[in-house]
């Protein structure tokens, strides 16, 4: 095998490991959920993993991600601690937010995962502010900020785009367009499906991908991040993707009436976890799968074993 082939094989294995880790983690969360041990709303990204995985694969440890309440994928793809995440969902003191944040407020400052917010759009200006600090300090770091098609409608997101472009900040804006905000389709919320074009008018290099193919996402992100590192100002990617489960909670909801399983079918047929998995030699894939299962089992056990925070914790961290 020549160098390039090795690199490609390494990449596929890396991407697969990340995709599979997120998928299986969330599937296990969905299994545990009915037992009511996870006492906080969960927004699964099953079906959308490739966006976070493709983007985070081109980020270094010093680079930063900002996710949302649907943040498991970004957190894990960036290297966030799985044990700490699971403990967080269980409300335990070893959680990444000591049990105070739950699934919607994952954070891992050591891995440069900025805290996630449950108010749609509200994390975007914060991510931009982080990028401002990076630029002021002349650091060679970039921020990837994920948000949904719904978030793109919030005033503060437009304001953030303008400011980031004005100051040429190193932000990769990634709009995960899954076509829905909760149960409302784009057609009830967008006057025109021209988001990428709109973002470009801020002088931002803006691109809309055709699918959430993880290699395509990765390639676009790589190009974008290179531009950011060159100081060219922010970059925007709109990635079409699809949420397979209900908006919040562990189940499917194709019988709810707002969308059909038919609509989902092509996305499922193009499942990125399967696609990338199929590129690997079976034994390599099996090894990854086994490692992933073991890691998740360990994280679940860790979460179970971790104690709840002590009553005194209630009053800790109100002020720094």
């Amino acid at each position: 095998m020549d160098d390039r082939t090795t690199r490609d094989a390494d990449m596929a294995a890396r991407l697969y490991r990340s995709l599979r880790r997120i998928r299986r983690t969330e599937e296990r969360i969905a299994e545990v959920y009915p037992s009511d041990r996870i006492k906080s709303p969960v927004h699964l990204s099953i079906g959308q993993e490739s966006v976070a995985v493709g983007v985070c694969d081109v980020l270094g440890p010093d680079d930063v991600v900002a996710g949302t309440y649907r943040g498991h994928a970004a957190y894990l793809a960036k290297g966030g601690d799985l044990r700490a995440m699971m403990a967080e969902l269980f409300g335990k003191v070893d959680g990444c937010a000591r049990g105070k944040g739950g699934s919607m407020h994952l954070v891992d400052m050591d891995r440069n995962v900025l805290g996630c917010s449950a108010v749609v759009g509200s994390g975007i200006p914060v991510a931009v502010g982080y990028a401002l600090a990076i630029r002021r300090r002349r650091q060679d770091r970039v921020v990837a900020a994920f948000y949904g098609d719904g978030a793109s409608e919030e005033g503060c997101v437009y304001e953030s785009l303008n400011f980031a472009a004005l100051h040429k900040l190193p932000v990769l804006f990634v709009c995960e367009n899954n076509g829905y905000a909760i149960h409302e389709p784009l057609s009830r919320r967008w006057a025109a499906d021209r988001l990428t074009e709109r973002v470009a008018t801020f002088g931002i290099a803006a691109r809309r991908l055709e699918s959430d193919d993880v290699f395509a996402v990765r390639a676009a992100a790589a190009q974008g991040v290179a531009a950011l590192r060159a100081g060219a100002g922010p970059v925007f990617l709109e990635v079409p993707t699809y949420r397979w489960r209900e908006h919040v909670g562990p189940s499917e909801d194709y019988d709810a009436g707002y969308r059909s399983r038919d609509e989902a079918a092509p996305w499922m047929a193009n499942d990125q976890v399967e696609r990338v998995g199929a590129l690997l030699p079976p034994e390599a894939r099996a090894a990854i799968d086994a490692a992933v299962e073991a890691e998740i089992a360990d994280a679940l056990a860790f979460a179970e074993a971790s104690p709840f925070p002590d009553a005194r914790e209630l009053h800790a961290h109100v002020y720094a």
Partner: protein, 353 residues
Amino acid sequence: MSTPERTLRYVDALREALVQEMDRDPDVFVFGLDVDDHKGIQGSTLGLAERFGPERCFTTPLSEDAMTGVAIGAAVAGMRPVHVHIRMDFLMLCMNQLVNMAAKTHYMYGGAAKVPLVVRSMIGKSWGQGAQHSQGLHAMFMHVPGLKVVAPSNAHDAKGCLIAAIRDDNPVIFMEHRLLYPLEAPVPEEPYTVPLGQARRMTRGDDITIVGVSNMAMECLRAEELLRDVGIGVDLIDPVSLVPLDIDTIAGSARRTRRLLVVDNGWITAGAGAEIAAAVAERLGPEGPLTVRRMGFAPTTCPTTPALERLFYPNPATIAETAHAMVRPGGPAWSPAPERAELAYQRSFKGPF
């Protein structure tokens, strides 16, 4: 012989109020994120879009700030919008329109325009709603002249207050509580209004006046039962509306008991409880000793873990303990038996309405 009264859940009472007002007045419309989906704001807007069409019940883009302005503009034009938010926390996105525009329009234009607007929002609680999905921020709205603030604690008042709010010519912040939605109470079928600015006495007693806001009125009702066990009589008052506030009823009661405990569904500092306690102290303080206490959210952000969330909120036991200590300050400490407190927790309010 009285016919058996119909009971309705809080959530259905809200929906009935909307249906009846939309039937009555074509200018009434309901909008806000997700009001027209199959969950219909936990059922409170279910079926409206089908019944009244997409012009009178529709979702919006995620643009709370502008949508509030849109509601104000439609109201100035003479319509009567009901703008719905699934969490009160999201009102922070529209504070500019609510505080700087809606509250001020009538006054700053010298009466030339008015804003008959209802802003419904629900307070979240339990199952780890957390920092940004659990706040009761009514105090901020109480603070600003020009806004009314309503917080019904039972199905009967939910319907009557919502109808009153829709018919009111002013912006009304209408505060609901997630945990109240399934609770039933007798609710007349025909449309009726519950006047804004009239408190409701839930129980009578001579030892202490307790005021419970929103869901806390229910928690206080359960505390009253526990206190009754130990011979403490509670004058329990649900203010129903916070602006206008029926301070006369509250102060009248406290003049008799000389003890006032306000239990709020929000933070204590500069909160509704501060207002009620201060107003009562202004009136009654000079007359003699007066024991005043406030309870509410712990002075922290709301944590998700149940281990801490439990401690964040007042509950029947902590309310009863606090009241007990106020009534018998020198006596031995007392806590209700846990099983008893658990049982009291089942109680719901059947009137007097």
